[in-house]
Symmetry: C2
Subunit: 169 residues, 2 copies
């Protein structure tokens, strides 16, 4: 069992894996005669291959608590996938880059603490752990590819990884 | 100035205009070994015409209070547009069907009170009023078409409409 250090999520740190969907630190322009600020194009929705199209779904994730055990990852080769909290719940994101053979590079495994006012949008093919709501059940907006086609791969990692509570990262 | 009666939002009532994005009353299936409930395909993301693609943006809308004045509507002919609250703010949605000539049919004007745990996804071409967060500043997830092309029409209504506080609808 290896220890995986928890990092604070930022646009820069997450850039190799996708986008952070957040208002803080993002550019905006006024719309609606100035009554609304639009934070434009924070995440790109990718839909690849035949038979797929973009849709909005929701996910209700069970509550998890530290210490967390990470034993597998999954990826969606045909599209991006976002998770954006809508009931004020922070969550944990675990991602890894890909090796030349397409498998996750465990030496590059990263764990991020995502604040309740942040979301993530995984690039197509990004290895990531399934949803980990922190402390209470979380409701999330999911924007991803639906339809036909093989769009989910799973791998068991070579060892288990443990994430301990941060103060907060 | 005509009075516009506020209705509670439901999937059925909103069906002519688009979809309600909500967990309540929606079907789900288990994913992630049972730790997550997926409420699948609650809203369809439409992207029409050349030069457009789907993206995730955010909108921060100023707070409005009753009585509300409705004087104009807009529509996006080339794509759907969703507004889903992520900081616990209810909002007001005003929509109208289209006449054969494409203009809004004011006889069919409807106003809906949207709970903080509900979102809406306007169909492409649906006449709707710009964002009206109720009571406090609201942060919303927006999924719509970005890119090139003429994708916003606005019309001034033939008369002003007034929405008064409901108890709650």
């Amino acid at each position: 069992m290896a220890l995986l250090v928890l990092e604070a999520l930022s646009k820069e740190a997450f850039a190799p894996f996708g986008e952070v969907i957040e208002i803080e630190g993002s550019d905006w322009f006024p719309i609606n005669n100035g009554s609304t600020q639009r934070y434009h194009k924070l995440g790109m929705v990718e839909v690849l291959g035949e038979g797929g199209y973009p849709a909005i779904s929701m996910a209700r994730g069970a509550a998890f608590d530290f210490p967390l055990s990470i034993n597998m990852l999954e990826r969606h080769p045909l599209g991006s996938q976002s998770f954006i909290p809508c009931n004020g719940v922070p969550f944990i994101v675990v991602v890894a880059p890909s090796l030349p053979n397409g498998m996750p590079d465990e030496r590059g495994l990263r764990a991020f603490h995502v604040r309740a006012d942040q979301g993530v949008n995984y690039r197509s093919g990004c290895w990531h752990h399934p949803l980990i709501s922190l402390g209470k059940e979380g409701d999330f907006i999911v924007v991803d590819r639906v339809g036909s086609g093989h769009n989910c791969d799973e791998v068991v990692l070579s060892t288990g990884y443990r994430i301990e509570a941060a103060n907060p990262p």
